[in-house]
């Protein structure tokens, strides 16, 4: 068997290689080919998704920075902005969960730091296989510890997140991390290089051989057998270094010493220097002989593509270089002038003054061809179904099974491994409300942040499912009285060259665009993670939506327990269906299709709830989500230690649904509110359905729908809800890191 051609081994097609030769007028040398292979990879060039992403709404009155910058940002008043972005680190986490997750957090923090912001919160969206396999235990353990290790050590609170367990993620878990930061709007830094003759300063960790090929080898191809051998391509994180880097950047910023700033992420120096030059319309010279190295004998191409973590690149005016280097010394972080901005429009790589590579910036950064997809809707449900609950289970048994379902059950054991309070902003911690609330005294208000995405429902219907995920995020914000300001997203999909996945991707982006338009919530940034598949097949299509909203008063946030005698109401156009539900999954009956979502009535319900919370009228709210009304009521009963007696007979009559639909059906647009009956009734007559369905009382959760009745003790419900920790951790004693 002959060796594959070098460009094929690096992930480029023959067509792409020919195009490079044509643009250069010659064949690229080794350094140049390595650089092209990275910037023309799916991960850097978005070559299969960029055309679709153009459909997303990106503008709004509060948008300060949109897609194309290191992160998006929205105005929060009084001269401050909130910067935020979500990014995936799926494949590194599949190969080495602890470091993969840790550096995923480190990477997204740097994106926000590079904007001149101070990170103030982290959220995570995680997906694993069912929690009964050794692999899932290993991945969960490593990923949760990795996230905690990095965030906790940096002193950035992890305030929220979600974890779902579904079979299609068994080999290809998802680790999406979102970072939220705050900056003075007029001090925010753009990533564009400017000013020929200005110096390029690299600072932070030393450059080593770790992570070489991370973006192209790991992030832009399917996972395969033998991926253990790719472990060396996973980067190693050092949160201490990043902590110093953050403080150093903040001081550089305060002293106004930088023209521009960029983090080094995927594709290392090649990407950050290339993109800085491209954004600024300049050229750039980098001398690899000046880069502080971890290993002395590194080749120029290795230095240019190394993904060593905790590094930043700044453009600095010549007379400010000494001050910059002195601040780096104060923070005990390595720094060096490694190059210069030029007016040549060329990215020149030198080694001790001698040119070893020369590429036109445009060819490298913008030259990659963008591909049209060949979408085709699969005729049938293509994912496995597995029955885990008997068809004749009683309503009470179903309710307990749903509460114990890994995706629904309490994740407190995971969230408690994260520092959720450092920074003194956290008004609501993970688990206390559906969205986390952070105090922003700088502008005398608070923000709410949420992250959501239900891959199973998106698999059933990529368009409706993505609309639901976006509405769910907005509903979570409403529960704490917040209205959306902006959206970030991470689109996790399989191989887009396969027609079925291409169809999922296109429909999902359409759904995201439609929901964001309806909510008037612009998409200010995001990330696409493709090729999430293994020989066992693709993951569920998983768009993860991150949303930032604002609220006037963090003291008026719902999330209180209910009291004996409180009335309970169902609010909103909620039309429950078992399609794509947790119960349908447990019955092994998942299939294509979800009911059509009426977005505007849902938006009205969201607004009604938001205002009710803001006014202080209502302090007990949850949205109806996975597991339906019975599960939502049981969760409130568990957190309150008081049961309830609810009757859904009227609900199902009005909506023409079955008793099971009413108890366990899912869908958008439903909220459970509790409080004084007269207060609940004040919400009626505003065009949104408000139905009192019962009362908080006793020590049992009783929910009746026609001839089906859930009747379980609160303590039984709690035992089921808290059962996941033992399942996940039972064999942790034998696992060491």
């Amino acid at each position: 068997m002959s060796e594959p051609k070098p460009h094929i081994a690096l992930g480029l097609t023959d067509h792409e290689f020919d195009l490079i030769c044509e643009k250069m007028g010659r064949e690229p040398n080794g350094v140049e080919l390595a650089m092209f292979s990275l910037l023309w990879s799916e991960h850097c060039a978005y070559k299969h998704s960029r055309k679709l992403l153009k459909n997303l709404p990106t503008e709004g009155p509060r948008v300060v920075m949109g897609p194309g910058e290191n992160a998006g940002a929205v105005d929060i008043g009084n001269g401050f902005s909130i910067a935020f972005k979500v990014e995936s680190h799926n494949h590194p986490s599949a190969v080495e969960p602890f470091q993969g997750a840790a550096t995923g957090v480190g990477g997204i923090l740097r994106d926000v730091i590079a904007l001149g912001a101070r990170p103030i919160a982290i959220l995570d969206s995680l997906r694993f296989g069912e929690p009964d396999t050794e692999r899932t235990h290993y991945l969960v353990d490593g990923v949760v510890r990795g996230i905690g290790h990095y965030g906790n050590s940096m002193g950035i609170p992890t305030v929220g997140g979600e974890i779902y367990f579904e079979p299609p993620y068994e080999q290809n878990p998802l680790v999406n991390a979102m970072c939220v930061g705050i900056a003075r709007t007029d001090e925010m830094v753009r990533a564009a290089a400017a000013g020929a003759g200005n110096k390029v300063v690299l600072f932070g960790s030393l450059t080593g051989r770790d992570g070489i090929g991370g973006a192209s080898v790991l992030a832009s191809a399917e996972l395969d057998e033998g991926d253990d051998a790719k472990r060396p391509t996973v980067q190693i994180g050092d949160p201490f270094e990043e902590s110093k880097l953050l403080e150093c950047c903040q001081e550089l910023l305060a002293a106004d010493l930088m023209v521009s700033l960029q983090d080094l992420g995927a594709a290392g120096l090649t990407s950050s220097a290339g993109e800085m030059a491209s954004a600024g319309g300049t050229g750039i010279d980098i001398d690899v002989g000046l880069v502080p190295l971890r290993e002395a004998d590194m080749e120029p191409f290795e230095i240019m593509v190394s993904e060593s973590q905790e590094r930043m690149l700044a453009v600095v005016e010549p007379d400010k270089v000494d001050e910059v280097l002195a601040l780096c010394t104060k923070w005990q972080t390595a720094s060096a002038v490694i190059g210069e901005v030029t007016d040549s429009a060329t990215f020149r790589i030198l080694k001790n003054g001698e040119t070893v590579g020369e590429i036109r910036v445009d060819d490298l950064v913008d030259g990659c061809p963008l591909y049209d997809l060949n979408p085709e809707e699969p005729a049938e449900w293509t994912y496995p179904n597995r029955e885990t609950i008997p068809a004749n289970a009683s309503a009470s048994d179903i309710a307990l099974a749903l509460l114990a379902s890994p995706s629904i059950a309490s994740k407190r054991w995971a969230f408690e491994q994260y520092d959720s309070i450092v920074g003194s902003r956290t008004a609501h911690r993970a688990g206390a409300a559906d969205a986390a609330v952070l105090n922003i005294p700088e502008s005398n208000r608070a923000i709410a942040v949420a992250i959501d995405g239900n891959g199973r429902r998106v698999a059933c219907d990529p368009f409706q499912g993505t609309i639901e995920a976006t509405l769910e995020c907005a509903a979570n914000l409403a529960v704490v009285g917040a209205e959306p300001l902006g959206v970030t997203n991470c689109l996790n999909f399989g191989n887009p060259e396969k027609p079925g996945v291409a169809w999922q991707l296109g429909r999902s982006i359409d759904g995201l665009a439609e929901a964001c338009r309806a909510l008037e919530a612009p998409v200010v940034g995001g990330n696409v993670s493709l090729y999430n598949e293994t020989p066992q097949g693709p993951i569920y299509p998983t768009p993860v939506v991150g949303m930032v909203g604002e609220l006037p008063d963090p003291a008026r946030v719902a999330g209180e327990p209910w009291k004996e005698g409180d009335a309970i109401a169902l609010v909103g156009p909620f039309d429950p269906s078992l399609a794509g539900s947790e119960l349908e999954k447990q019955r092994g009956q998942l299939g294509k299709g979800l009911p059509e979502v009426a977005i505007y009535p849902v938006r009205e319900a969201i607004e009604l709830v938001r205002e009710a919370v803001r006014s202080g009228l209502i302090r007990i709210v949850t949205d109806v989500s996975d597991g339906g009304i019975a599960t939502a009521l049981a969760e409130l009963a568990i957190s309150s230690g008081i049961g309830c007696d609810a009757h859904l007979t009227a609900v199902l009559a009005k909506r023409d649904c079955s008793a099971e639909d009413a108890l366990f059906g899912e869908g958008p647009g439903g909220f459970i509110l509790a409080g004084e009956k007269t207060d609940l009734e004040k919400l009626g007559g505003q065009g949104v359905e408000v139905e009192v369905i019962g009362q908080a009382r006793g020590n049992e959760v009783i929910v009746t729908a026609s001839d089906r009745r859930v009747e379980i003790l609160v303590e039984e419900a709690e035992a089921a809800f808290e059962s996941l920790e033992d399942r996940i951790e039972k064999d942790q004693a034998g696992l060491t890191h």
């Binding site: 510890r145 290790h149 201490f240 110093k244 994260y418 520092d419 003194s424 008004a427």
Partner: protein, 257 residues
Amino acid sequence: MRWGVLQFPGSCDERDALNACQIAAVALATEPRGAGGGVGEAPSSARNVVGDLTDPASSPRLVWHEETDLSDVDGIVVPGGFSYGDYLRAGAIARFSPAMTAVAEFAAAGGPVLGICNGFQVLCESGLLPGALLTNERTRFICRQGDLIVGDADSPFLSGYEPGQRISIPFKHQSGRFFAPPELLEEIESNNQVAFRYAPGQNPNGSLNDIAGVTNEAGNVIGLMPHPEHAVEAFAGSTDGLALFQGPAIAAAGAGA
């Protein structure tokens, strides 16, 4: 009374501590009573001890780890975090910092020193407090709101609380298991050096005798694993930490009254 808050590379909660010092002083100046709710009226002269908070010269300040001159501060907080990354053993490097040498002298002269979480670890490593903090029994990082019982140690830091008072303070750490050999533990107990214990059933890390915080023999140095600086504002769910930051001022005012 001006606070200095140490800042090492890798500190995490230094701004939180700075904020807490300021809030506690403002609260004392405007409403001079133990914020813990137990003591009732503190001497009104506490107002004078706090100083003029609009004057930057009496506002709390960060003390960089290379500083050795502490003459402009009246109390020291060694904050939480991961000093120098804590890759060796929590607090093991920080004890050798120039600032800690100065803190040791400051403490020897009777100055009030408060160590929180990593700061507690640093003070134990420095020998300013007895005992050691080991990895949690369950080896995981844990972050949770919990209850503490105030001990009967004789320390100015506790003058805003009553012995036996139950307070709500969050904790978050991976190496918080208080340990001392039997003779030392006996000594700590018989000298009444226990400042705080985890409430019954809430010991999160396997600490001996549920100990969450201790003082030195003189009482002017105190360390605890939980984070009182995260319990000073209503939005955080508890303000029971305020009194700890007010303690030395209340004690000084009482002594002067």
